[in-house]
Symmetry: C2
Amino acid sequence: MTINAQRKLYDLAGADPDRRFSPYCWRTRLALAHKDLPVETIPWRFTEKEAIARSGQHRVPVLLDGETVVWDSWTIATYLEDTYGDGRSLFGGAGGRSAIFFINNWADSVLLPGIARLIVVDVWAHLHDKDRAYFRETREKIFGMSLEQVCADRETSVEAFRMGLRPLQRMLAQQPFFGGSSANYGDYIVFGGFQWARCTSRFQLLAEGDPIAAWFERILDLFGGLARAAPSEWPV
Amino acid sequence: MTINAQRKLYDLAGADPDRRFSPYCWRTRLALAHKDLPVETIPWRFTEKEAIARSGQHRVPVLLDGETVVWDSWTIATYLEDTYGDGRSLFGGAGGRSAIFFINNWADSVLLPGIARLIVVDVWAHLHDKDRAYFRETREKIFGMSLEQVCADRETSVEAFRMGLRPLQRMLAQQPFFGGSSANYGDYIVFGGFQWARCTSRFQLLAEGDPIAAWFERILDLFGGLARAAPSEWPV
């Protein structure tokens, strides 16, 4: 394994530089911790496109690993697994990697859009002033309505969101992690979505007693409480 | 590996004993073929509870492997993987098994209920006379309406169903199978749902050009066209 003191991660931040809430960046932070790879995180805002221009695109996470520049959370995870193969496995083998890629796509196309509809107005409230107009304009174009309208009916629309969590709830009734008896990258993918909410919004995503809450706590505890230490909007 | 001429599978059938349409039984049939394990399938109808009573429950698939009785498609898959470990792996390792269990739960709680709402009236039409009243009564209780009402708006409700397929469509844009470069049990789980529709209904689940159709054809081709040979309602 290469020990690399030059490992840096551009990590989305709010007005408070310590408030890190990107669901994709959380995947990468936990993947690095899983591999026991130290990293310096650099707070980054949506409008700081120049800072990551060398990656050839304009979104985070962007990982600088020595001279190597890697972006996109999935690409970073596969890079870490292949480069640091003697560390603990993120996927648990070839079958894990390909199946977890489905989980990645489930999270990106079902879970995250579902959470966004419930918290996007609260995310906006945490942004740095220089990001607010950009974020509002791009997201309102996607939703076709104001951020306030997106979240206006969330007390009722949360019910449909919770129905979509059944695959996760059913899995957790039989095994404690996506990774089986211990967490792996499948867990970090899905955790990122809930951590995004925890770090930006007091809106209650889960019904009382949902087994997802206990699983989420187990991930918060990993790596010396790495994710738990992040500034949060949820009660401890 | 034990070669066992006494391997039998109770497999749901319609009025025509060759019409086998259970999504769960298809998972098991492809899992057995993947492991190169010959099996005699026994046509079974919903109301033939006595025939499988020795399994201690009343649903198929039920596998008789010599003296061993195994039921529930997931339990059968793990039994086959553990018992016939020198055959081709169904999961691709421990990480595959635990991640594919999420896929199993996604299929059971999202995909199959979504397909059921679109085809349940056509499934009923294929049943043996002795099963029809039982099936209608139990399913209408679940849906809270007649089977005809469940499917009445399917030309419009199919749009929401197709939205729920995005994780699968996105995955297939990057890799040809759940198993990566070749099929594994993750594929068979999801295939079973579409094969259930293919064997019972002419309703078009997928939009024209959906990449899922090409993936489905690839699974139909496996094992000498095992699943393609089944009596079907879809154009060849």
